[in-house]
């Protein structure tokens, strides 16, 4: 059962990366997606603790895939965003949009 809770910035990034990857969201792919989209290099430890926390909050679920030789015979753990997770991202993004609305901080840069 998901608790109503706010998301941190990195939690939002991870959830959005999982949403973008769809059925192919596992540790390596999520890190790569975050690096490509944000230019941010993520430490594996930071990613796995965040995924663990999100799973405990009920925002993501996971399933094991099949073992592969290039992974030393270990299976991939695929992640999927739950309805509660998607709602939490949407809520957080709406908050950002609401705070940005009416601000003119970007006008000079885009002029």
């Amino acid at each position: 059962m998901a608790r109503t809770t706010n998301l941190g910035e990195f939690e939002q990034i991870v959830l959005l990366a999982i949403l973008r990857l769809g059925d192919e969201a596992y540790g390596v792919a999520i890190r790569e997606e975050i690096r490509c989209r944000t230019g941010r290099s993520t430490a594996p430890g930071a990613l796995y603790t965040t995924l663990d926390r999100l799973e405990q909050k009920g925002f993501v679920s996971s399933r094991l895939g099949d073992p592969t030789p290039e992974r030393g015979g270990r299976a991939k753990r695929f992640y999927a965003v739950s309805a509660a997770g998607a709602a939490a991202v949407e809520r957080a993004q709406r908050s950002y949009q609401s705070l940005l609305k009416g601000l003119r901080i970007f006008e000079n840069k885009h002029a």
Partner: protein, 201 residues
């Protein structure tokens, strides 16, 4: 692959085994592009991050395990040394010099007693405490590593690191304290269902 197995074993001290396997697989897959140095750093970082996450989630349990581990280790070590003295092993190792650390056999004996105490502590902790995460031996292992690192840094900061102390901090502590302790915990986990004593949460 040996490095994947090593990573899985190490990670299973701080997360459930199936999760440890998946993370070890991720690190192995990425290490094919990034190299063994990256693998070592990423593994150490992941184990550290997940240990401190466990600590944050169960502070009392972790501190209780540390206190129990320290008490158990001291008791076991005293027992091993007293037993060795009573059996005449200590005197034989010292070779009649009077000092227990002057000869190579005495040093080997000293190291062996530390390793036996650490292994026994890991074995007992693993048998009597409910399995983690974190593993019951992890708080004490992290404590030993922190003490050794702090002592080494203090020596360097004071400008007087000696080869002997550096060897003790960087090789002796891992070899005689941490590795036997973790090996004892791993052996206990393979012996069957432990968990007769619930550590305070």
């Amino acid at each position: 692959m040996l490095k994947t197995l090593f990573a899985e074993e190490l990670l299973s001290l701080v997360v459930a085994r199936e999760r440890a396997g998946a993370i070890a697989g991720d690190l192995t897959e990425e290490a094919a592009k990034r190299g063994p140095l990256w693998f070592s750093g990423a593994l150490a970082g992941a184990v550290g991050a997940m240990f401190f996450q466990c600590f944050g989630a169960a502070r009392l349990r972790t501190l209780g395990l540390l206190a129990a581990g320290l008490a158990l280790w001291i008791g076991t070590y005293v027992g091993v040394r007293v037993g060795g003295a009573l059996l005449g092993l200590q005197a034989a190792a010292a070779g009649g010099t009077g000092s227990p650390l002057e000869t190579a056999p005495a040093l080997v004996y000293f190291g062996a007693t530390l390793a036996v105490a650490s292994f026994s502590t890991g074995l007992v902790l693993g048998r009597i405490v409910r399995p983690g995460p974190p593993s019951p031996v992890m708080p004490l292992a992290v404590f030993w590593a922190t003490v050794a690192l702090a002592a080494f840094c203090a020596d360097v900061a004071a400008g007087r690191p000696t080869w002997y102390c550096t060897l003790v901090y960087l090789v002796g502590v891992p070899a005689f304290y941490i590795v036997p302790l973790v090996a004892g915990g791993a052996a206990a986990a393979r012996l069957g269902p432990p968990g007769r004593l619930e550590a305070a949460r």
